[in-house]
Symmetry: C2
Subunit: 915 residues, 2 copies
């Protein structure tokens, strides 16, 4: 049997494609990204230096056995002959020597993680030959001494310092400040000194056999795949270990052969802005590394036109050709050797989010790509980046260098914020509103009655809590940058200061918070701003995303299930949030939390009076006072979302959340007792007793949601009346309100059987009272208790819609307290790989997801038209959105600020899972 | 088409059986229990008065339409003719009148809930005829006036008082103290007066047409099925409403026709003790109601031998015949009319638990029934009754009358207890141990550090918590009668008293607690004691139950699953509990909670030192001190359970449970600060800070179980070492220890992947150190987190056994905090029928059960030999045990005191679901 084909010549890309099943991704897997693209360019007729590629399969075989696989080296030598023929030079020939580079090239770019050796083929015979050929001895000995250093370090494992010490000594001796001040003879002398280094360090001579040079360099590149740097990088970037690297043996071309030579790098469009013009720089009479090193000032690519017009024109044609071929902006490297242009690399160029979106939209408009491709090419992170103010990387790197990185926490709500710190909501609000300061609110944790302060703040920092803590959820909801659970921060509320390792920040001092990374900096960092409305291309892209999702038949499901992709709705409590959600493209409100309305300053005392009522009469009076507030809130929502569904969740939290803190009151009472103060003690004791009676050991699993509605139905009866009075008013004014009443925390179908008919009666009664004939409305429930998911078939008998409350569902399914888990063990779990992701941030498909799938299937067995959504924090997370697409949700609902991201993620899901 | 057969004659039971599909239960459904058994006796040749039965189907038709169904009355009249022929009398014939009773008789006995009319057929013509025939005018007019009163009240709806007033007036007039002092003429006169009552009350005369009497009486009996009394009774006893009642028209026989007549009731065995001898009483010359009324002293049945030897001998034969026929103790009624014996009723007799068990075992030994029948005939409640001291019903009724019922709570641990109340564990223990008092420990709720007091107490009462609160679980575990969540009890710890509606009980005063009903009484109630060892028949019965479960093939499951029935294991923490469990028949320990050992007085300070350790060294030292304690505990367990598996759960609760209470410490610190006391303040503040740092918002979902083991592996490493050192010691001494190490609170397979191999290495290492070659051991996990159930397939990749922790699994699946739910809403939920049962007491099959079923199936797909058990509180609940049988558990594990009940329940499950 013939040996396997381990080596592909520059003109054998068709064979590689055939072997790889005509799948370009597989070709990249076989030849590596660099090798595949070089071969592809060769096929396109783009001038590339002759080369051949040893496959990743050979690398893997080498890794497994420790030696080259059978036949590989013979194939390499045969290919080398072809390369010699193409280049018109011969490897190791003193008269006309071919030099080659030996370059790593894996499927995915791992910049700087693996090894490369240049100038292979120089030795004591070929070097003089080169000198004769080029007449440039300085160039030749510079290349030779670089080969010895590179080979010594990469292949022989000699510490770089061994060469650097000799070089520095030598420069001192010659009075040269930089390498370029060394003369040709100096470099020749240095070459000899470097040979001595090799001999001293390794006990043998630098190999004069050019084939041995090549063989050892190839082995070294293979080995570098399993080097520590490369392995660490793969861990961090989730690149699998079994891909291996290819090795590219490429004829050397030189840009430093005079002023008709040069080298450069370019992007085919502007990587910052996406503008459609080639963007690059070059240097005449220079090598690639000179461009990178920045020793000489580079020229803008446009000026090449004047210097080497032919090469320039050819280069511009090639850029255009490559874009047309790859349908994406390319990042290219080129060298001009004595007037002849050589392309050394092409790949999809890295770019800013802004640029990516513009390029994607432009290319679709230019007909280079489809709209689907444009949509799939932009990542959700890129969209997210454009929607929040940022600290740019340079600013942060500089701040770190200055030791200003102060603390790390959970990255709870993206965006950057700079402000003066305040430790309580009232002060924060006062400083923001009255003193017009930029405020960062700092708390151990937040509670519902802190919301006004959080809304007034530019950013939030807490020392406790996790990604779904109150602070995190509210912050994301309102787009406030937020870091939570920064446990190294010790907050001293009494002395109004915080402290990390002895570094104290006092109230009123400045910090900078990066909610996207969880970092906290001392002082003020510069902000880069962003806004959606002005970003024409982004709006276009998101409209295309919506078009993709709207396509009927994109999902294949049983009768009654949705056939289009996901809709994106938003979680919004107030009309102004609803308006923002609409402007961001939300086509429904998936969650309006009615209790947030209870916390407003003028309402809270009424709510407390209602809760502490000692007679039904007092309670009813308080509820009657609340009704107009709620009605007017709902009316505003229906107006803002005219024609779109608005899901209103009935009261959910336990009542004690509306009362003063037990601990604080206890402290006050004890203090008064010990001091013998009696003024007002009785009242405080009574209040304390009421609060203590409501104390729960595990409030998350306590008297809340539908349980509360069953124990005390008056509150939800008032709420339903308010909802339908509001809807009726809007309808009578000519609007189209679509209220959907959501009952939270259902765990047993009998809970719905108890409460839902009662509430439906009120709805009917109100509509009758108001004389409204037609109104689209629904009653449904959250699915957030595991038992609800398990018995969804029964529950769908009553509920017309399900909305997955995946915050609580995750909490109960894992048994992880949302308030404590991150701080106590969850961060460790994720760090140690016990959990792949924080399940409060990214939906756990195997556990929580399996329950959701069961619930959707069982629910739709009972009621095929069941409307299914998600309103937990996962509704804004791309992976979770994809899962919702797969299991058959009608929509996802997320914070208004996440709506653009979710629209894109929904389209990605539709494209990746098209039926 | 012929009319449906609505009426069955006494000798038509074969026809009824054919119609009912030869299913006796259906015959009872058709003819009612009384009618079916009368007909059955007739078929057996037992003398019963001629009769016919109108079916329950006729009753239902009547209920639906308000009138007798087509053909029914004609059939009744035809049957009446046959009865006349058999009795040799004619209905309404003045010369030889037949009298009949019209008796209700439903499928299930509903004593006193429906109506009966006697002596139908008497009127102004037949009464004199009867007098002539019997020569006994007193008897005849007594019967007549009784007919009018009964008919008036039952059929015509006249208030009984209307007759009673006339009667009392009349007796006064005649100078008679009791009815029996009225003479024949008086009764005749009274009959006329009763006729006047009817006329006055209804405006028409008492019907002289005997057929009208019969028809109206039949209608009345039918109507009584839907009377309020009957409906309420059915609600309370879960008898369906659609069964209907049959009507039995039975020839009257009279025991009051002289000294050769009589009447009596008897049980075929002793209903108190089960002794095998007929047990009954009778009266000569009397009617059935005289025996019940207790006006005259009844005679023991044995004495009938001397008075009416022939009838006696026939009666004894019949008793034996009936037992042989029904294979159960019968409760019979008989009448002797002029020397001739008539049987009027037979049914399975009610009896005490003690008697039931003895009879079941005796009958199987006598060959009357199989052992399986004996086992299925005894209920788990009956076994339970025999295992706990009790207050008998009379005692409680009397106490209630005296107003001594003090409070009601959740019936957390069965059994009765009488003692003096103490409000803290230390005092309770001291009073019990030093002062040898019977103590009831009273607390708002209990914590682990109260256990010594709870163990010393005779009973426990808490004002907070539910059926699986700490107090309840510990109480059941140790068989201490316990009432929890008696929320009306206000406990004043400071003044050492409790109060309900102003009634104060002070420390040291007596109360009585019924843990089986949740009642609390003031003062001392008399106790009825019980013990297992002395109950030979119970032991026999339980052995038979075990035999049933041990039968291979009784369950049909896929390969690798258990084919025998359930085993019963016990939850036991200490060697003495293990010995008790063995003596109760447990064949394994399903749960040993290692942390209970940490709470013992001499160990707790070491545990606290370990937890608060500021350096690894201090922690290691503390753990080294704990090791010998744990090893010796485990060694004792392995010795007690020699040859049987012992599942040891590694540390589960959050560490703060081992530290002093935060609230109390906070109060102390605040008080000291306000008072300006500094002595010891620093230390207290430091401790408080440590405890506050461990504070969790929802500790049930916090840092416990395997999470704690991953964050702080040193503790479980010590525990595993202790387990295997102990096992090795026992093995080297010739024993057969079978340790199974259980990891609690697993939610993700990666948790096991992290911890289990670490612990297995320690196990192997210890066995190697000790030189033990062979030891049977396993590593496995609790399934108590919903996600563990959902991903059981993955988890079984590592776990060799699953044990369902259904307390937590129920808690998380429902999202009900075990500590709060009962108090806050769960009791209301059960009362209002929102939940059929408290899911912490009886496993919720639809929700939690569905998760369990998934887990068993998925787990055994991965590992067919997976050992599956349950160790939650449900392990002792019969319905839950049945479910465990169905889903394929290997065993259930419960408190030692519940083991006998569980053994019986397991056998019942095996019999009811035999493959």
């Amino acid at each position: 049997m013939a040996d396997k084909k381990w080596v592909y010549l520059f003109n054998e890309v068709d064979q590689a494609e055939a072997y790889a099943g005509h799948n370009w991704d597989n070709v990249r897997g076989l030849l590596g990204g660099k090798g595949a693209n070089l071969a592809d360019m060769a096929r396109l007729g783009v001038p590339v230096p002759p080369f051949f590629t040893i496959t990743t399969e050979a690398c893997n075989a080498f890794s497994a056995s420790g030696k080259f696989p059978q036949g590989m080296w013979d194939q390499a030598m045969a290919s080398l002959k072809k390369v010699e023929a193409a280049a018109g030079k011969a490897f190791g020939d003193p008269k006309n020597p071919l030099l080659v580079s030996c370059r790593s090239g894996a499927k995915f770019s791992m910049p700087g993680m693996m090894d490369t050796v240049l100038n292979i083929g120089l030795n004591d015979q070929t070097a003089p030959g080169m000198v004769k050929l080029t007449g440039n001895d300085r160039f030749v000995y510079d290349a030779y001494r670089r080969l010895i250093q590179m080979f010594g370090s990469v292949v022989l494992g000699i510490r770089d310092e061994a060469f650097e010490e000799v070089l520095n000594e030598f420069k001192k001796e010659k009075g040269a400040r930089v390498d370029t001040e060394l003369k040709a003879n100096d470099l020749k002398e240095l070459t000899e000194k470097f040979k001595v280094v090799v001999r001293q360090q390794k006990g043998f001579d630098f190999p004069q056999d050019v084939f041995e040079q090549l063989r050892l360099a190839t082995e070294a590149v293979f080995n570098s795949w399993n080097g520590k740097r490369a392995v660490d990088y793969r861990r961090a970037t989730n690149i699998p270990d079994d891909l291996g690297t290819a090795v590219n043996i490429v004829s050397m071309v030189f840009g430093n052969m005079g002023n008709d030579s040069g080298t450069g790098v370019a992007f085919t469009r502007d990587p910052q802005t996406g503008e459609r013009k080639v963007f690059g720089e070059y240097l005449l009479n220079a090598q690639g590394e000179d461009v990178v090193a920045g020793i000489r000032n580079t020229e803008k690519i446009e000026t090449l036109k004047n210097v080497l017009p032919e090469a320039y024109s050819q280069f511009m044609d090639i850029c255009s050709k490559l874009e047309n071929h790859y349908h994406d902006m390319q990042d290219v490297e080129f060298t001009i050797e004595r007037g002849k242009l050589w392309m050394l690399q092409t790949r999809n160029g890295k770019r800013t989010a802004l640029s990516q979106i513009k390029i994607a939209v432009d290319m679709a408009n230019e007909g280079l790509t489809t709209r689907e491709e444009a949509v799939s090419r932009v990542t959700t992170e890129q969209v997210d980046t454009l929607l929040h103010p940022q600290f740019d990387a340079k600013t942060k790197a500089a701040a770190k260098k200055e030791g200003r990185l102060y603390a790390n926490g959970v990255n709870a709500s993206p965006g950057a914020a700079v402000g003066q710190i305040y430790f309580d909501a009232n002060t924060a609000e006062r400083m923001a509103k009255e003193s017009k300061q930029d405020v960062i609110m700092v708390r151990p944790f937040t509670k519902p009655d802190d919301v006004h302060g959080m809304l007034a703040a530019k950013g939030i920092l807490t020392s406790e809590g996790g990604a779904t803590s109150h602070a995190a959820v509210v912050a994301r909801q309102f787009g406030v940058p937020c870091v939570v659970g920064a446990s190294m921060v010790h907050i001293d509320m009494e002395r109004r200061k915080m402290e990390v390792n002895g570094v104290v920040v006092k109230e009123g001092e400045w910090i900078s918070v990066d909610g996207g990374t969880g970092e906290v900096y001392l002082g003020k960092l510069a902000l880069t701003a962003a806004s959606l409305e002005e970003q024409e291309e982004l709006l276009t892209l998101l409209n295309w995303a919506d078009e993709i999702c709207a396509k009927p038949g994109i999902r294949k499901f049983p009768e009654g299930w949705p056939t289009r992709g996901l809709q994106v709705w938003a979680n919004a409590d107030y009309p102004k949030d609803a308006r923002r959600a609409r402007s961001y493209g939300a086509v429904g409100i998936g969650l309006c939390r009615t209790e947030h309305m209870f916390f407003e300053q003028e309402r809270l005392p009424i709510v407390q009076r209602m809760i502490l009522a000692e007679s039904p009469k007092i309670r009813t009076e308080a509820l009657n006072e609340l009704l107009p507030y709620q009605r007017s809130d709902f009316q505003g929502l229906f107006e803002a979302m005219n024609g779109y569904p608005v899901i209103i969740r009935l009261i959910d939290p336990p009542l004690h959340e509306f009362l003063p803190s037990e601990d604080k009151l206890l402290e006050e009472v004890i203090t008064m007792r010990v001091k013998g103060e009696t003024e007002g003690l009785k009242a405080k004791e009574k209040l304390l007793a009421s609060i203590e009676a409501m104390h729960e050991s595990n409030p998350m699993m306590g008297l809340r949601g539908v349980r509360l509605s069953i124990v005390m139905p008056e509150i939800v009866e008032m709420q339903v009346r308010a909802i339908f009075e509001a809807a009726a008013n809007v309808a009578l004014a000519g609007g189209t309100p679509k209220p959907e009443v959501m009952i939270p925390l259902t765990g047993h179908v009998n809970e719905l059987k108890w409460i839902q008919p009662r509430l439906e009666r009120i709805a009917k009664q109100v509509l009758e009272e108001k004389g409204v004939q037609v109104l689209h409305y629904k009653f449904g429930t959250m699915i957030e208790i595991p038992r609800a998911a398990v018995t969804a078939g029964e529950i769908a008998g009553l509920a017309e819609f399900f909305s997955f409350g995946t915050n609580d569902l995750t909490q109960m399914t894992f048994g992880y307290s949302r308030d404590d888990a991150e701080r106590n063990f969850l961060v460790k779990y994720v760090d140690d790989g016990i959990l792949p992701k924080n399940p409060f941030q990214q939906l756990d498909r195997d556990g929580v997801g399996r329950l959701m799938k069961m619930a959707v299937e069982d629910g739709r067995k009972t009621r095929p038209s069941l409307e299914v959504g998600i309103c937990g924090e996962h509704g804004g997370d791309p992976s979770s959105i994809e899962f919702c697409h797969i299991v058959g949700n009608n929509y996802v609902s997320c914070s208004p600020f996440r709506v653009p991201v979710a629209r894109l993620a929904a389209a990605h899901a539709a494209l990746n899972h098209a039926a």
